[in-house]
Symmetry: C2
Subunit: 281 residues, 2 copies
């Protein structure tokens, strides 16, 4: 197996695959020399390389870099790997990557995927072989995806402890625009807004409740999220419009001192919370 | 001591005061018979009463009910208590309550306060004698507040393990509009928006990261938050305008695919996060 991108996800899946004895050898590919050094030192990879030439020997290639890098690398990866190699990814936007993968590997050997796992910390030092235990791993095949390739990749993720779910790529992007990308956008905007207020840093010092719960979300890499926001642009702009309406309704109720409308909206939000807790219990 | 409102905060401060032997007797006042029963059973109060007449014997009265109820009860409390009794509150909006308290108790025996502590759970069953250990307890005296009363109340909260900070009431309300009320409003709006989308409940099932971090915030009592939103209306509408601008800037950058502007705003949000973690470390 070759893993391109030795961050939290790439490093964790390499550790998990080695522990499960699902692979013989792990080749780590990363442009950052510190990541390469750490990956070998921490037992994430047997050896590490800077360039994609290292993929020529691999039977399975996992692209674990930011979403725009995945899309950009796919043609190069396709030109480098063996004809029967499987290629998969872990990006949190799927439709544009799936299209690029189907074009680059017309034999259907690209299987797009998205593990629902993440942590505040990043980089190979944060890698954890248990990250995917019980986690949902979404696979988004297209009509070009080879059935055998899909089966192999799914079995591989299952071997790391994940629960695989098949989903349409466009619907995946709509869902995650709402439940992941929008909340990150909202948290970033909130932090930025408070920081920019008069005596903003002083206010931030009193964030014991409320704002503090948003800090994990705003801790993620700005580059990674810039890429996600840009790549999932249309679905994000759609859910953002719905969100702006919801904020506008609350604002209107506050401005008009309409306690009944306020209570109604706050109670609906609680219903949503219960749906989340129920689903993830 | 008499505690009006036997919820999480009222129950916890009664438990903490009893453990610290800061009071001889705790009288709990609550309209809800289940709360009264639980408070006596759990050792929160020595006895519980339904009506405010029970305050006539108290040396210290703590109002631990939603903010609009605090404001509404203050004149009745003032008419009931002994002339030398101290009255304090724990509401998370201060300026309107302080004004009402100064009017109701013109001798300066009302000391407005706000402990920065809270939990997802509510009610007397959630009460915890350790809730205030190390917590910040903001007191917001006015120029009418009696210096001796302020000193006594401050010493009392310190005795429960809290760290007292003095602050101007109007500035308190501006700060908490930004770092507490706005984040709650945003979380409620987010939950409501996603729930209202096409196949909303199905989307909510995939909230492993992102939205899930907002669920604690949206768990709080709708009635309590309706009252806070209505009572701190002007500061909330001000910070909401700043927030809407921040969302608008992100939206514009996404629409225009302006990666540089996006990165800049996401990086500023990270700075805010660091300020928070630094302040609360």
């Amino acid at each position: 197996m070759a893993v391109v991108g030795l961050g939290l996800i790439g490093g964790s899946l390499a550790l998990a695959a080695r522990r499960a004895k699902a692979v013989e050898t792990v080749i780590g590919v990363d442009r950052d020399p510190a990541h390469r050094e750490a990956a070998v030192r921490l037992g994430i990879a047997d050896r590490a390389a800077e360039g994609l030439e290292a993929l020529a020997e691999a039977d399975l290639v996992v692209l674990a870099v930011p979403v725009t890098a995945i899309r950009r690398l796919l043609p190069v990866v396709a030109a480098t790997v063996k004809g029967d190699a499987l290629v998969t990814d872990v990006g949190s936007v799927k439709q544009p990557i799936l299209i690029a993968g189907d074009v680059a590997l017309p034999g259907g050997r690209f299987v797009a995927g998205h593990p629902i796992a993440g942590r505040e910390r990043s980089g190979p030092e944060a890698a954890d072989a248990d990250l995917f235990a019980g986690a949902t791993w979404i696979v988004t095949p297209s009509r070009h995806t080879d059935a055998g390739a899909l089966e192999q990749v799914t079995a591989f993720w299952r071997g790391l402890g994940a629960v695989c779910t098949r989903m349409d790529a466009a619907w995946h992007d709509e869902i995650f625009a709402a439940v992941s990308h929008l909340p990150h956008l909202v948290a970033y905007a909130l932090m930025d807004a408070v920081l920019g207020m008069e005596r903003g840093p002083e206010r931030l010092g009193f964030s014991a409740g409320g704002l503090r719960d948003f800090t994990r979300v705003a801790a993620s890499s700005p580059e990674m999220w810039r890429d996600i926001f840009l790549m999932n642009r249309e679905p994000i702009l759609r859910v953002l419009a719905a969100y702006r309406d919801a904020v506008g309704r609350l604002e209107h109720a506050i401005r008009e001192a309409d306690g009944e409308a306020l209570t109604g909206q706050l109670q609906r939000a609680r219903t949503a919370r219960e749906a989340i807790l129920h689903a993830t219990a």
